[in-house]
Symmetry: C2
């Protein structure tokens, strides 16, 4: 085929794609308009935005249709999931039902911070009266706190304890809550300083989320759960799932996932640097899976070290647990040193059993993650 | 609002969404039909399927349109990237240009294995004559190899060396290549056994990929690169990027990313099990980021331990490097033990500098990965 003929033919087809893509944007716009209406309707009656069964039913229908016309159903599912996660935002914009109109005032201490302002925004959009206490407001705090129905401590972890100690004069029926990523010690402090309802919360998301839909908030019981039940209901209205767990179990689990992973990721970055690795070359040479791993390591170093060191240094129990990890690492390395593949494989199979069905589920999920990692390649 | 009125209104809106989604599937079908034609046209003239500039231009246009109608441009970009990565598959189906029609025969040793069969399929669809040697074919191998123009060794890493040693009687002009994940020792073996062109390849993808588009294949020079240049061109026609690097540098980089990460992920799984963690609870309590990390750990344990132990046990240099990691881990832990936050933050900032611009880029990319991880939540 002559080059000019080829170029012409290609141009015609590309124009056709452009026309289709243009229609696609218009269709997505139409969809967004309708989902916004759904959000408005739901917020009028206080129905949660996220409706798992509807999501599931919708996906099944479209997967079937895709299959019938010879398309890969996974593609349509991925596209629809992306649209749905976006539509939650539009449904969000319209405000939320206020589950406790008799609540006089919500005070968020640290309400201008990254996490605090998310809660200020959500309470405000649910028609609560909200006030914020920042450092400069302490002289006036007695006044601000005197008629509070809820006080939420949303300050950096290293300040949590000293801030809680200042809250010894709250109205007796006031709910006292914190949103620190550890739970045992703040709960202890809160119970000591306040005689009313107390609950420890750990929102399992970073400050850059745009909606609480499908996010998890962990709740650890302090005192008088009946009195703060409405607060948890309110969080559910915002789209989050509440997971209730004992504070000690919470801290242990977080040590294993949060602290341990942060620390080990930081150590890996330090290791790469100290080994004299060439980061540009590593990126160039990466498979989707190593690229994803590098993304997860590198992202951490774009953030505030104080945030991470506060979490890592917060609990000395963590040190022992992480030492145990390092020793296990060296223990397994001995198998490699002595060439004992059998023992290594045996260990591998045990862990595999321990993961159970999650291993297979995760393998399946990882495939779409890796596809995504490769799509992001420039 | 009465429940019945609300239900009716919601049903009407949901029906509207269903109609839109149905049109969406139809539009995607139309798009797929056109992209298939693009693939056929390109394969006629041997033009690579993946056209980065066209991709970029297309995205810019649609982002702009999205913005103009008040949609989030990131959503349309994510959707289009998903469609494009799917469209490469349809463009793939139609076969590829054969860049070296004078090639008499390609022999893939281990061509029925997971990785081998990908190459068998690609060569076949590019109109090469392809033959496979599996264990049972060795008695007849002299015959099969006598008129080979290319021999590719695609056997498990632990067999690579012994298989290469059998290839001492190839036609002199035959290209000998392997696809093992280490490069120094197979290259050495290949150069010793064969006097003609030699190249070491490391395809940076797993066996479950459906297309080579945007994937990376690492090439390490063995002997007479001019003679095997066409082979690399053929791989590019399939959509992959060739990254050429020295075998020693390759093995060092892989030790740091592949071996080290596999090992440390396995050690982390072992650690979780030994700590007596409750996996179901960990999953329930996970933020998107810990969920993503658990996915990446768990996925590994759904796979064949022999595969991983072969890679980890393949090179004893790896042991020293991994020991250095464990010692650095313990060294950093000392900072935590002595409460030396300053030293910890200082180290953090150094690594951050070492990552340079990649840290910020990765943070940005990680956001869409985390969004994806949360979309996958059931």
């Amino acid at each position: 085929m002559e080059k000019i003929v080829f170029d012409q033919k290609l141009a015609v087809l590309r124009d056709e794609i452009d026309v289709i893509d243009c229609q696609l944007v218009e269709l997505l716009k139409k969809r967004r308009t309708v989902t916004t209406k759904v959000g408005e309707l739901k917020s009028e009656v206080g129905m949660p935005i996220y409706a798992p069964e509807r999501e599931e039913a919708l996906l099944i229908k479209r997967r079937k249709q895709a299959q019938d016309v010879g398309l890969n159903p996974d593609v349509i599912e991925d596209v629809l999931r992306r649209l749905m996660s976006d539509s939650y935002l539009s449904q969000d914009a319209s405000g939320y039902l206020c589950v406790n109109p008799s609540c006089k005032k919500v005070v968020v201490i640290g309400g201008k911070g990254q996490l605090g302002r998310i809660f200020v925004d959500l309470f405000t959009r649910s028609n609560y009266r909200v006030e914020v206490i920042e450092q400069e407001d302490w002289p006036n705090s007695k006044n601000i706190l005197s008629d509070a129905s809820v006080v939420i401590v949303a300050v950096p972890i290293r300040l949590t304890s000293s801030i809680i100690q200042k809250l010894n004069d709250l109205p007796e029926q006031c709910i006292l809550a914190d949103v620190t990523s550890i739970k045992e010690s703040p709960l202890y402090e809160m119970l000591k300083v306040h005689k009313g309802p107390v609950v420890g919360l750990h929102p399992m998301f970073g400050p850059d989320i745009t909606s609480l839909v499908k996010q998890t908030v962990i709740a650890c019981e302090g005192r008088d759960p009946e009195s703060y039940q409405w607060l948890l209901e309110q969080i559910k209205i915002w789209g989050a799932k509440i997971y209730t767990v004992d504070a000690v179990a919470h801290d242990q689990a977080m040590a294993m996932v949060q602290v341990m992973r942060h620390f080990s990721t930081i150590a890996y970055g330090y290791h790469l640097m100290t080994e004299g690795a060439d980061i540009a070359q590593l990126v160039e040479m990466s498979s989707p899976i190593y690229r994803l791993e590098l993304i997860m390591v590198g992202r951490l170093f774009a953030q505030n070290p104080v945030l991470y060191s506060d979490i890592i240094f917060s609990n000395s129990d963590n040190i022992d647990m992480m030492k145990r990890f390092a020793y296990r690492f060296l223990e397994l390395l001995e198998d490699v040193e002595t060439g004992d593949k059998e023992s290594f494989i045996n260990m591998f199979n045990q862990v595999s059993d321990w993961f159970g069905d999650y291993a297979g589920d995760f393998l399946k999920e990882s495939k779409s993650m890796l596809l995504k990692a490769n799509e992001l390649k420039k």
